[in-house]
Symmetry: D2
Subunit: 244 residues, 4 copies
Amino acid sequence: MNDQMDGMKILAEGYVQLVESWGSDQAIIEAARMSTNKGFEGWGDDDEPGDERLLGYLYRNKHATPFEMAGVIVEVKAPLFVFREWHRHRTQSYNEMSARYVPMPNENYVPTIERIVEGAKTTGNKQAAGTAQLDQAAAEQWLERLEKFYADAEQVYADGLACGVPKELARLAVPVARYSRMRASANLRNWLAFLTLRQSPKAQWEIRQYADAVGRIIASKFPRTWELYQEGSDTKTHQTSEKS
Amino acid sequence: MNDQMDGMKILAEGYVQLVESWGSDQAIIEAARMSTNKGFEGWGDDDEPGDERLLGYLYRNKHATPFEMAGVIVEVKAPLFVFREWHRHRTQSYNEMSARYVPMPNENYVPTIERIVEGAKTTGNKQAAGTAQLDQAAAEQWLERLEKFYADAEQVYADGLACGVPKELARLAVPVARYSRMRASANLRNWLAFLTLRQSPKAQWEIRQYADAVGRIIASKFPRTWELYQEGSDTKTHQTSEKS
Amino acid sequence: MNDQMDGMKILAEGYVQLVESWGSDQAIIEAARMSTNKGFEGWGDDDEPGDERLLGYLYRNKHATPFEMAGVIVEVKAPLFVFREWHRHRTQSYNEMSARYVPMPNENYVPTIERIVEGAKTTGNKQAAGTAQLDQAAAEQWLERLEKFYADAEQVYADGLACGVPKELARLAVPVARYSRMRASANLRNWLAFLTLRQSPKAQWEIRQYADAVGRIIASKFPRTWELYQEGSDTKTHQTSEKS
Amino acid sequence: MNDQMDGMKILAEGYVQLVESWGSDQAIIEAARMSTNKGFEGWGDDDEPGDERLLGYLYRNKHATPFEMAGVIVEVKAPLFVFREWHRHRTQSYNEMSARYVPMPNENYVPTIERIVEGAKTTGNKQAAGTAQLDQAAAEQWLERLEKFYADAEQVYADGLACGVPKELARLAVPVARYSRMRASANLRNWLAFLTLRQSPKAQWEIRQYADAVGRIIASKFPRTWELYQEGSDTKTHQTSEKS
């Protein structure tokens, strides 16, 4: 059921994988043409444009419902804190691994030194006054402690499970950095709303990597709609919001 | 894009046509298995049942989200009063012909004599006291008047359009019996909720014909889920609700 | 439960009436401040602005979820063709009169001559080539025919009901101009989305009258949010979309 | 804005607090009566029942839309793993504390010994074969380790923040046991769906405590609807589903 899209590695151990898509740029036109009791009339070219003009008109004028007649299902492996942000999008359907039913594998997100140092610069203005300027050595040291902490967390978790603590309570020791897995389904309209928020420079870098991967899937399946989305993303409209 | 399903005539001039489906009984299992970090393990047979047991468990225990990982898009031609009921289902996506943009073709739903006489019997208990018992002759006479009325409506509508009344106002003369067209998309969970209400004996006969046609499409694409739905429909649970 | 807002007459026989509202400009701030673990800090004035700055920031940057923490329920009497447009907004809750249960009262929308003549001018570019230019006399003549048509429709409807045709079929003769009644509930975010589409110059004049009335209710209950909405409505963003 | 409902302590450090409600049992009747073009006619008593009969009919026959004409907003403090389950309910509106903007206070859920030992018994059948039977001493020992682990987590988190690691990355060390805060809004129909799943014996004990508190709020604001919900909860229907 998967195709060339599988294997898009995100962060160190995560991924985004196409499960299935439906609809097409053409199907969007067909749906929109219901309003005038007509159908798809064909794409044109630079000399003689065809239905790409209607597609552009629909997109730019926010006639959004035809873009609900297509969609994508993906499988995602990502840290819990990424899923926490993702699940705020209430128009998607989700099925996720449950720590009540299975022990969560011992995989935790470890950011790179560069990510931490770079992140400290770009979010620096949000740091409390009097906070130290992060240098590379401090970042390395903290990262080392973080990894040791992950090992401790796993120890508490695994020992709890081993001695009979219920899975649903043993997980109290799991950090939000731990990887989980899910399938997510949405129509194209709602995926584009997700991308608008999660590809924004204001979104956290980690979820942006996932959003970019979803974007590549959408680009491959709906190339003409993707072009319109990108054109819109260059404008300010697409870079300001936060949560759906 | 259409397949063997096209051409399902409903009422005299309406239809339901499959545009596209996505997902499958197997994909529902795959999605559900995310919770235990596993995948599809295969269907079994009477001697050794396989994942049909999980499918049955999910359906009967109302674990509904995996059934959101599949769906169907249909094209429908139906009278306005049917669309009025249909559009109360707010989890579907719609694109419909607009009388603001195109004149609506002169096609109006004419019930059969049998439908009227039969309907008078079954809804008789809701008739006001003192109402006459409808006989065949009266039904025939009323039907004749109705058809003449449709012709008058078209005359007013067409003359308005011809003399320059805006389409959006000329339509004031259009009766709710007039046929319109739309595409409708929903995931399987929401189609089954639609069918539960619209295949119910309490639903109006006309929309039940459309619901039955949607049911045949779902049966052909998701045969195992359909079997579970039908099993549930035999119980009282499925025959009591009215509107989503 | 109603207040000063009742009695907003719309069209000749329709109305919009406030049933109830919840939340407030302040409650929106309180909800937004959850993100920083704080609360409402007070409105300011021109010299020293207070939380109106946060409200403006939220609105302008499309941080929409705090605006879901307030809402309005209205009761509406409007023609069926207006309800047909209204019900495309799938984030509202509706309870409407049903012609299956009660005969619809004989009230039908009759546009004014001015509305028809003016409408013919502004939508003229959408008229088919060769269509006559509508003059006042033709409009008057058509309107006269329309009213006679409404009387005929009622005759067919009432006679059907009287002789025993089931209500759900007798209504086939009802034109889309007939008035119905409903209650509609939505949160503030979704009401503003409704208004953006239905107060737009592209929306049909009739539903715009209803949208304006809803706007007056929102202005009275959420004056600071309303100011921000209006500021946004002056920009192009708010005047381009069509359907939610 | 709060009333007697504030101060419902849940777990050790959490709470559920009423922010606001709208609608009433009577308003549900008024909305339902739109369908027959009537209004509220009054409650009755045992001798002569009034509109409580209609309310019961609506509830038992799943005429759900009138129950969307009322609602409740609550403020909740709960551990992250509870919010993870809560946020799967996509028909609610949420505003939650964000660890990207503020450091999360050092409060973590510590279950009681009784909860762990009892939980081990009731979920025992789900434990892997060969798992030890949990005894009180082992539970105490594990709990001690968990609390020490929480202290370590806070150390890593606080030190990261102090040396300049961005908040959004320092939080990687936060366990899912940590408390967060949010406001949640939903209409009554959707709160009852939430309660059906989260008051079920199959739901995790911790979220059940929160669901019970929401239930007490609903009981105080909508006593007649609550009675109907409870009557339904005694039947099997209400005890089988898992996720909305």
